[in-house]
């Protein structure tokens, strides 16, 4: 994918560009709001990454200008911790995701991937049923079946499964799960999510020849097969627990 990065911090900027390129993405880097805005208008990008604090025009103003101009490209806002409580404000300005520094590069890559793919799957947002291989969940009756057999899950497990299924084939990090399933935003840096995953795995994979829920070492989890166009930077390896 083609990423536009608007970041004034030289170290952070160079680092992100380097890592994105290593992961096989194309990246354009601008160091201030004005040139970032110009680039976003003149070229077409798959995802835009904007630092909140920028010289000249700040990240949120840039974002608001873009949205007012009718640009729908997904935007991820980067923020230093001092502004952590302004997250809501960021999302209200039209950001699609918000990441607090310092973050791990895997986290950024996984989130950009999700943003990038969401555009493609936007049309099917209204579906009431999700299917991955022979695993099926009904969003209305909240029933889960695999190969026709009913599986009983608790509400939180259902939410977890739903999120994983909505991003089937993509890597989701622990922070993304904590964010979308529990509603808190930070990198937990503990194995607590793993326990929930392994419980869920017990329910949906045990007794079936083909495991669906994989742990992607060092990055997160993935439900279902990786898409054929998986990038080298997010190379995966399934480790069964």
């Amino acid at each position: 994918m083609h990423v536009l990065l608007v970041e004034d911090d030289e170290t952070v900027g160079r680092f992100i560009v380097e890592q994105l390129q290593q992961a096989g993405h194309e990246c354009t880097w601008k160091v201030d709001g004005v040139s970032g805005l110009a680039a976003a208008r003149s070229d077409s990008f798959d995802v835009i990454v904007v630092d909140r604090m920028l010289p000249g025009t700040d990240g949120l103003t840039l974002l608001a200008t873009l949205r007012n101009a009718g640009l729908t490209t997904p935007v991820l806002v980067l923020s230093a911790l001092g502004e952590v409580s302004d997250r809501v404000e960021g999302l209200q300005s039209g950001a699609d995701d918000y990441l607090v520094k310092p973050f791990s590069i895997d986290e950024l890559l996984a989130r950009l991937d999700v943003l990038f793919r969401r555009v493609a799957s936007e049309s099917s947002a209204a579906q009431t049923e999700l299917t991955v291989a022979d695993l099926r969940i009904d969003l209305l009756s909240r029933e889960v079946t695999r190969a026709g057999q009913p599986i009983s899950v608790q509400p939180r497990e259902f939410k977890l499964l739903e999120y994983l299924m909505r991003h089937a084939g993509q890597i989701v990090t622990r922070a993304m799960l904590l964010e979308h399933v529990w509603g808190y935003h930070f990198d937990p840096q503990t194995n607590v999510i793993d326990v929930h995953i392994s419980r869920l795995r017990q329910k949906i994979d045990k007794g079936f020849p083909e495991p669906l829920l994989e742990t992607v070492r060092g990055a997160g989890y993935r439900l279902g097969d990786a898409p054929v166009d998986a990038q080298p930077g997010t190379s995966t390896d399934s480790v069964s627990q």
Binding site: T11, R14, F15, E18, Q19, Q22, A23, A80, L81, G82, V84, S85, D86, R87, K101, P102, F103, S104, I105, R156, W182, G183, Y184, H185, F186, D187, P188, Q189, T190, N191, V192, V195, H196, R199, R217, G218, P232, G233, S235, D237, V239
Partner: protein
């Protein structure tokens, strides 16, 4: 400031010692002077007695006993004070002349001297008076005793001693009062300095002593302390900056290295792939540590929480407990939440969640299988809410409570047995401080009890 603290102060002790030594030396000096003067007086007294005896001897030689009698009787009419007393006796011991009736009980001194006490009529009262006397042979069996009283000397002596004693008492009392007063003033200055320094210890290294409020040498001391503080603050900032820079700068090459290892692993199979997995997770641990370190330092340098969001603790704590229930169940640890009615606290929801997640994570990690972890929340009247996380693990010795909040510090016994980078409690501390709260560690008997006091929005100080 209590009286005891003043008396115990260095200034008071110094002054007290000085007063005691001074009065003792003055006393010794005066006593020596007195002894010298008394000695001179006694020498004079005894010489005058010897002279008188010589006179008697001369009179006896010239005019025999009748002359002596005449002379003695003449002398007796002289004024009483300072005169001689006589007793002249014949061979049989009968008094021939003089006003001493008989030889009283006496003390024998060196060189034939006698000392005795005699009651004399003085100002209508009989007063015991000390006498110095010397007997002599006049010749022809006659003996003459010449005595002279030294009441004046003893009176002088007792007067001098009394005066000395009173003066000493006065000196000591005045000295002590003076000492007390000056110690009080010194102590109050030192105490103010102490208070300011304690405030600095609590408030952080960027604070300074108010030099203008100090006077004299304390002011000088305060100035020196301030420059010392400035110096250590600079050093501290330097160390922090260096460690943050290291973490920041090493993240880039480390991530690159990690990604290259990932690529390498994709083409490897078997043992090599497993070994690469280990190396990659080591890299992830280091990166995790760096991120935590940077997070803590951005919390510490980013000022205090100034937003106006309110976080209801019941939902937040229920979420933490719910998140940890499977892990606790897996370890057979009883994880319970006791929720009293308490106000919503001011703060960032995500950070507060992370705070309690870290505490519960730690509590479960250090609690042995089958133990218990209790999360309790209650209102803290006038402030906000108090949340206590108690476990039944090994706890932390009280003398280590300060240390475990330091970055990278790990209790020796937990090294190797529990994974972690020693930043968990530092992060907790940083989040609590960021929210103007108070973190304290205590004994849960057994186990560790972590108490977090968080302010509600309305009670937050400006």
């Amino acid at each position: 400031m209590t009286i005891w603290s003043v008396i115990n102060s260095l200034t008071f002790r110094y002054i007290a010692k000085y007063v005691v030594v001074l009065s003792a030396s003055v006393f010794l000096l005066l006593a020596a002077l007195y002894a010298y003067i008394s000695y001179g007086f006694f020498t004079e007294l005894s010489e005058s007695i010897l002279d008188e005896q010589e006179t008697l001897a001369v009179i006896y030689a010239g005019q025999s006993i009748a002359g002596v009698e005449q002379y003695v009787n003449d002398q007796l009419t002289a004024p009483a004070s300072g005169r001689f007393y006589y007793l002249v006796t014949d061979g049989s011991g009968q008094r021939v002349a003089g006003d001493l009736n008989e030889v009283p009980r006496y003390e024998q001194f060196r060189g034939g001297w006698l000392g005795f006490q005699l009651a004399l009529l003085e100002w209508g009262e009989t007063v015991d008076v000390d006498f110095l006397a010397r007997p002599m042979d006049l010749g022809g069996d006659y003996t003459a005793i010449v005595a002279r009283n030294y009441a004046d000397v003893t009176a002088q002596a007792s007067l001098v001693i009394r005066t000395l004693f009173r003066a000493m008492i006065a000196t000591i009392v005045l000295g002590m009062v003076g000492g007390f007063l000056s110690a009080t003033s010194t102590l109050s200055r030192v105490e103010r300095l102490n208070r300011e320094l304690s405030g600095i210890i609590e408030g952080g290294p960027e604070q300074r002593i108010n030099v203008d409020a100090q006077k004299g040498y304390v002011r000088e001391l305060a100035e020196i302390m301030n420059s010392l503080l400035a110096q250590s603050e600079g050093l501290l900032r330097g160390v922090k900056t260096v460690s943050d820079n290291i973490a920041h700068d090493l993240r880039t090459p480390l991530t690159r290295m990690r990604n290259q290892l990932e690529q390498l692993r994709a083409s490897e199979r078997g043992d090599t792939a497993l070994a690469l997995n280990d190396i990659i997770s080591e890299c992830d641990d280091i990166l995790g540590t760096f991120n935590a370190l940077l997070r803590i330092s951005s919390l510490e340098t980013g000022g205090l929480y100034s937003g106006s969001a309110e976080v209801p603790l019941d939902q937040l704590l229920a979420d933490v407990v719910e998140l940890y229930e499977p892990l606790a169940a897996e370890r057979d640890v009883a994880l319970t939440l006791q929720m009293d009615a308490c106000p919503a606290v001011a703060g960032d929801r995500d950070l507060l969640f992370q705070l309690f997640l870290n505490l519960v994570d730690n509590a479960i990690k250090y609690t042995p299988d089958g133990g218990s972890v209790v999360v309790r929340a209650a209102a803290l009247v006038g402030f906000g809410a108090r949340i206590v996380v108690g476990d039944s693990g090994p706890g932390i010795p009280a003398d280590q409570h300060g240390n475990v909040l330091r970055r990278f510090f790990r209790i020796e016994s937990s090294r190797g047995t529990h994974p972690g980078h020693g930043l968990g409690l530092s992060l907790v501390q940083a989040i609590v401080t960021f929210h103007r709260g108070v973190l304290s560690l205590g004994d849960n008997a057994p186990g560790l009890r972590v108490t977090v006091d968080l302010p509600q929005l309305s009670s937050r100080r400006k």
